[in-house]
C-alpha cells in the first residue's frame, strides 16, 4: 500500500466534495437564469423598435401617427445623471478621504459612517419626496426642473460613492502613505499624489456603480422633473429621461409605444453595460501605464 | 526547556575538554621524558617519541573543530575569545609535545655510563619538576578561568629561566673531562627544552587572561609580582 493511498481522504468525504461542487454550480446557474431571461426579453421585445428614428427623433406623444424616438429621453438621462455625478462623486470621495485619512477611528468619523450606512438603505422615492418638499414646492429656482432631479439623484448616489471609495482607500497599503510622509510630504500631497492615484481604479469603478444606479432610478425623477417630451438642454426646466419615458410608455394602449418602452429599457441596459466596459478599459490602461 | 544554542554550547564544552585533555597528554609525556633522562631509559624515551602522534592527532582534531565552529556558529564575544584562545593553546600543546620528544631524543645520546655532575643533574631535576607543575597549573587556570593562577605562572617561569641560565654557567665551568663536557652539553639542550615548555605555559596563561578580561597582555617574567598584578 503506497504512502499516498494511506493518506488519502475517505470515499465519503470525496463524495461530499463532489456534491458541494455540483450544488454550487447549480446555484450559480439558478442565479444566472433571471439575468439571461431579462436580457432575452429585452432583446425579443425591444430589438424590433431599434432604428434610426429611435435615436434621432423625440417622442411624438400623439395618439396617432408616427411614434417618434426616444432621443430626448436618452440625452436627458445623460445630462441629469452627469450633473448628479459631478455633484456626488467629488463630495463622496472627499467624505471617504476624510474618513480614512483624518477621521479614522474618531467618534465623529464613526457617527458619519453610521449615517452613510443608513442613507444607503433609504428608498429612492424618499429622496425624491425630500427634494420635492424642499426645492420644488418652495419654488426655488423654478418648479419642476432637471437640476433638482440631479440633486435628488446625487443624494441617492452619494452614500454608494462614499462606501465604495472608503473601502478602496482603506485598501491602499499604509506603507505607501508612510513612505510618502517619510519623504517630508505634507498630508494633502500624500493624498493627491500617492493615495488617490493608487486607488484610482477602485474609485472609478465605485463611481460608475453609483452612476449605473442613478441612471435607472425613476421615483426621484417623478417628483422633480416630471418629464417633458420635447428635447431640451436647459437644466433649469423640465427634462425627459429614459426611466420616465419607459414609465409613461409601458402603460400606453398603442402596441408600438409599448414596444418602444422595451427598446428604451434595452437602451438603458446597454448604456450601463457601456459604462462598465469603459470602467474596465480605464482600469486596464492605468495598470499598464 | 533546553537553553538556546544548546548544541553549540555542548560542542564548545567538548572542544575545551579536548584541549584540556591535550594538556594532560603533555603532562604524561613530560613525566616519562624526565624519567627517561634520570634513569637513562632508552626504551621509555622511544615510547615518548612514538606517543607524540597522539598529541599531533589531538591538535588536528581541535583545529578542525574550531574551523567548523567558526564556519557554522559564528561565535561572538566571550565565545569568540574562547575559540580563539583554544586555537592558540592547542598549538602551545603541540609545541610542548615536540619539546618532550626533543628531550627524549637526547637520552640515548647522553650515554649510559657517562660521568655526571651532581649540581647540573639537580638543577635539571628541579627544572623538570617546575615545568611539570607549570603545565598542571596552566591546565587548572584554563579549566577554571582563574586569572590569578594564570598571572602566577609568569612569576614561576622566572625560576625556570634562572635555572636554565645556571645550568649553562655550570656546564661551561664543568671541567676538562671530555665525556663530562659532552654530557653537560646534552643537559644544556634538555634544559633549553624545559625552558621552552615553561614559556608555552606562560603563553597559555596569557590566553586565560584574554578569555576572562578581553585584554591581551604579554606577561613579562622578569617583572615583579606587584607590577604584574597592577591594573
Amino acid at each position: 500500500m503506497s504512502v499516498f493511498s494511506e493518506a488519502a481522504v475517505s470515499p465519503r468525504r470525496r463524495r461530499t466534495d463532489r456534491l458541494m461542487r455540483v450544488a454550487l454550480v447549480a446555484a450559480t446557474i439558478l442565479a444566472l437564469i433571471p439575468l439571461v431571461l431579462v436580457i432575452y426579453y429585452l432583446l425579443k421585445e425591444g430589438l424590433g423598435s431599434i432604428n434610426k428614428a429611435f435615436f434621432t427623433q423625440d417622442p411624438s406623444g400623439s395618439f396617432f401617427g408616427a411614434v417618434g424616438g426616444v432621443r430626448s429621453a436618452i440625452l436627458g438621462s445623460l445630462e441629469i445623471v452627469l450633473l448628479a455625478t459631478l455633484i456626488s462623486v467629488p463630495i463622496g470621495i472627499g467624505v471617504a478621504l476624510f474618513l480614512t485619512e483624518y477621521g479614522k477611528d474618531s467618534k465623529f468619523a464613526n457617527v458619519v459612517r453610521y449615517f452613510v450606512d443608513v442613507m444607503t438603505g433609504v428608498p429612492s422615492i424618499v429622496f425624491g419626496l425630500f427634494i420635492y418638499i424642499s426645492l420644488v414646492l418652495t419654488h426655488v429656482g423654478g418648479n419642476f426642473t432637471a437640476w433638482k432631479a440631479s440633486v435628488a439623484l446625487a443624494l441617492l448616489m452619494l452614500p454608494i460613492v462614499i462606501r465604495s471609495s472608503e473601502v478602496v482607500l482603506l485598501l491602499v497599503p499604509a506603507s505607501l502613505r508612510e513612505g510618502a510622509l517619510a519623504l517630508g510630504a505634507p498630508r494633502w500631497q500624500v493624498i493627491f499624489r500617492v493615495v488617490l492615484p493608487s486607488a484610482r481604479t477602485g474609485l472609478v469603478t465605485g463611481s460608475l456603480l453609483a452612476v449605473a444606479r442613478g441612471m435607472g432610478e425613476t421615483a426621484p425623477l417623478l417628483f422633480t422633473t416630471a418629464g417633458a417630451a420635447g428635447l431640451t438642454f436647459s437644466l433649469s426646466g423640465q427634462m425627459n429621461a429614459l426611466p420616465l419615458q419607459i414609465y409613461n410608455d409601458i402603460l400606453s394602449p398603442r402596441a408600438a409605444v409599448v414596444a418602444q418602452a422595451w427598446a428604451a429599457g434595452l437602451t438603458l441596459v446597454a448604456i450601463v453595460l457601456i459604462l462598465n466596459l469603459v470602467a474596465r478599459a480605464v482600469s486596464r490602461r492605468s495598470r499598464m501605464a | 526547556m533546553k537553553e538556546t544554542r544548546h548544541q553549540f554550547r555542548e560542542d564548545l564544552k567538548e572542544l575545551e575538554q579536548q584541549v584540556l585533555g591535550g594538556l594532560d597528554l603533555v603532562t604524561g609525556q613530560l613525566d616519562r621524558a624526565l624519567e627517561s633522562v634520570s634513569y637513562q631509559d632508552v626504551e621509555l624515551a622511544a615510547m615518548v617519541v612514538a606517543d607524540d602522534d597522539r598529541i599531533d592527532g589531538r591538535y588536528l582534531e581541535v583545529h578542525q573543530g574550531i574551523l567548523s565552529m567558526l564556519a557554522r556558529q559564528a561565535p561572538v564575544a566571550g565565545d569568540l575569545r574562547i575559540v580563539a584562545a583554544l586555537l592558540h593553546v592547542i598549538r602551545c600543546i603541540e609545541r610542548m609535545g615536540d619539546q618532550c620528544v626533543n628531550i627524549a631524543k637526547l637520552v640515548p645520546l647522553s650515554g649510559h655510563e657517562s660521568p655526571k655532575d651532581k649540581d647540573i643533574l639537580d638543577a635539571v631535576d628541579r627544572m623538570g619538576q617546575l615545568a611539570r607543575s607549570q603545565v598542571s597549573q596552566a591546565r587548572e587556570a584554563l579549566g577554571s578561568r582563574n586569572v590569578d593562577l594564570a598571572r602566577d605562572l609568569a612569576r614561576q617561569d622566572e625560576e625556570i629561566n634562572r635555572l636554565n641560565r645556571e645550568i649553562f654557567r655550570r656546564a661551561v665551568e664543568v671541567g676538562d673531562d671530555l665525556d663530562l663536557r659532552e654530557w653537560a652539553m646534552y643537559m644544556i639542550l634538555v634544559a633549553r627544552c624545559l625552558e621552552r615548555i615553561g614559556d608555552n605555559t606562560v603563553d597559555i596563561a596569557e590566553q586565560v587572561v584574554f578569555v576572562v578580561t578581553g585584554l591581551f597582555r604579554e606577561m613579562d617574567p622578569t617583572a615583579t609580582p606587584e607590577t604584574i598584578r597592577a591594573p
Binding site: 497599503p173 505607501l176 519623504l183 | 544554542r5 561572538v76 564575544a77 578580561t213 585584554l215 591594573p231
Partner: protein, 288 residues
C-alpha cells in the same frame, strides 16, 4: 564579571597598536569617495515614547556620530524601531502615540515647538523594512517623487534622478527602462530604488528600519555595500535584528532592551568584549 577597562590606558605595545588600528577603522577615509561632504550627527537626549499608556522608550540618550553607521540591535519589543521613528517624528503618526525629549541635529531640536514636521522629514530620511515604491509611478517618477512631493525644484530634474540612480548602483540595471513601473523590479532593486528616492532629496541623515529583512542574501549584501558607500555623505542609523549584519556594516552598535539602552560601543568591542552581562547574553544567543 569583566573588570572596567582602565588597563587600556597603560602604555603597552600590543594594546596601543591594536587601539590605533581600531581608530583607523572608526574614521573612514573619505578623501577618495565621490563628492563626500561632512554630514551632521544626531544627539538623542532624554527620549521618552508612549503608545497610549504603554511606556515604550524610557529616557534614552544616544549619540549618532556624523558620517558613521550606527546600528541598533535588541530583541523584539526592545524599542529599537520606536527610537528611530521618534528621530524623524514618524512615531506621532500612529494614533495615540506620543513622544517627548530632545533629538538634535547639530543644534536644532526636532521636537522644538515651532518646527515644521515635513521639514524634519526632508532632512532626516527613512527607508522601511518592506520596499515600498509607489506603484502608480515609473522608476524615474519614483526617484523624483520625493522632490515633487515636497515641492523642491532642482534645476535639472533628469540629471538629479540619473545621478541618484548611479549613486545607489541601480543605473546600469534600469537605464533602459526608466519609464517602467517601479514595482516591476526585484525586491533588492526595489529597496535600492527606495533608497534612491530618499537620497534624491539630499537629506543629512538616513534612518533604516530593518532594510534587508525582506531581501535575499545577495540583495542584502548589495544594500550593505551601498550603505558603506553612502556613509561618506550621510549619517546612517540602521535598526537590525540580524547581528551579523550589524557586525558587518556598523561602526558602532547600540544594544537596547525593554526600552532602554544597555550598551553603546564600537562594533568591534561590542562583539568581542561586551561590557554588560546582558549584552553578552544576547549577542551569544543565550537569551531564552
Amino acid at each position: 564579571m569583566i573588570p572596567p577597562d582602565t588597563t587600556s590606558k597603560e602604555p603597552s605595545q600590543m594594546s596601543t597598536a591594536r587601539e590605533q588600528s581600531e581608530q583607523a577603522e572608526a574614521t573612514p577615509d573619505r578623501s577618495g569617495s565621490v563628492e563626500s561632504r561632512p554630514g551632521r550627527g544626531i544627539k538623542v537626549r532624554g527620549l521618552n515614547a508612549y503608545y497610549g499608556k504603554q511606556h515604550a522608550i524610557k529616557g534614552v540618550d544616544i549619540d549618532f556620530p556624523a558620517n558613521q553607521v550606527t546600528a541598533i540591535i535588541g530583541p523584539s519589543g526592545s524599542g529599537k524601531s520606536t527610537v528611530v521613528r521618534c528621530i524623524n517624528r514618524m512615531h506621532e503618526e500612529i494614533p495615540g502615540a506620543r513622544a517627548d525629549g530632545s533629538v538634535t541635529l547639530d543644534e536644532s531640536d526636532v521636537y522644538a515647538p515651532d518646527v515644521d514636521v515635513t521639514a524634519v522629514r526632508r532632512v532626516i530620511g527613512m527607508v522601511f523594512q518592506k520596499p515600498n515604491p509607489f506603484p502608480t509611478m515609473s522608476i524615474y517618477d519614483n526617484v523624483a517623487a520625493g522632490l515633487r512631493l515636497t515641492g523642491t525644484k532642482p534645476h535639472n530634474l533628469r540629471e538629479t534622478v540619473n545621478t541618484t540612480l548611479r549613486a545607489v548602483g541601480l543605473w546600469d540595471e534600469v537605464k533602459d527602462r526608466l519609464n517602467e513601473p517601479g514595482v516591476g523590479l526585484s525586491g533588492g532593486q526595489q529597496q535600492r530604488l527606495c533608497i534612491a528616492r530618499t537620497v534624491a532629496v539630499s537629506p543629512e541623515v538616513i534612518l533604516m528600519d530593518e532594510p534587508c529583512s525582506a531581501l535575499d542574501p545577495i540583495a542584502t549584501l548589495k544594500v550593505e555595500e551601498l550603505i558603506d558607500e553612502l556613509k561618506a555623505r550621510y549619517t546612517i542609523v540602521i535598526v537590525t535584528h540580524n547581528m551579523q549584519q550589524a557586525a558587518r556594516v556598523a561602526d558602532s552598535t547600540v544594544f537596547m532592551l525593554d526600552g532602554e539602552v544597555i550598551e553603546h560601543a564600537p562594533t568591534n568591542d561590542l562583539f568581542t568584549k561586551p561590557k554588560d552581562e546582558r549584552t553578552e547574553r544576547y549577542v551569544t544567543g543565550k537569551f531564552g
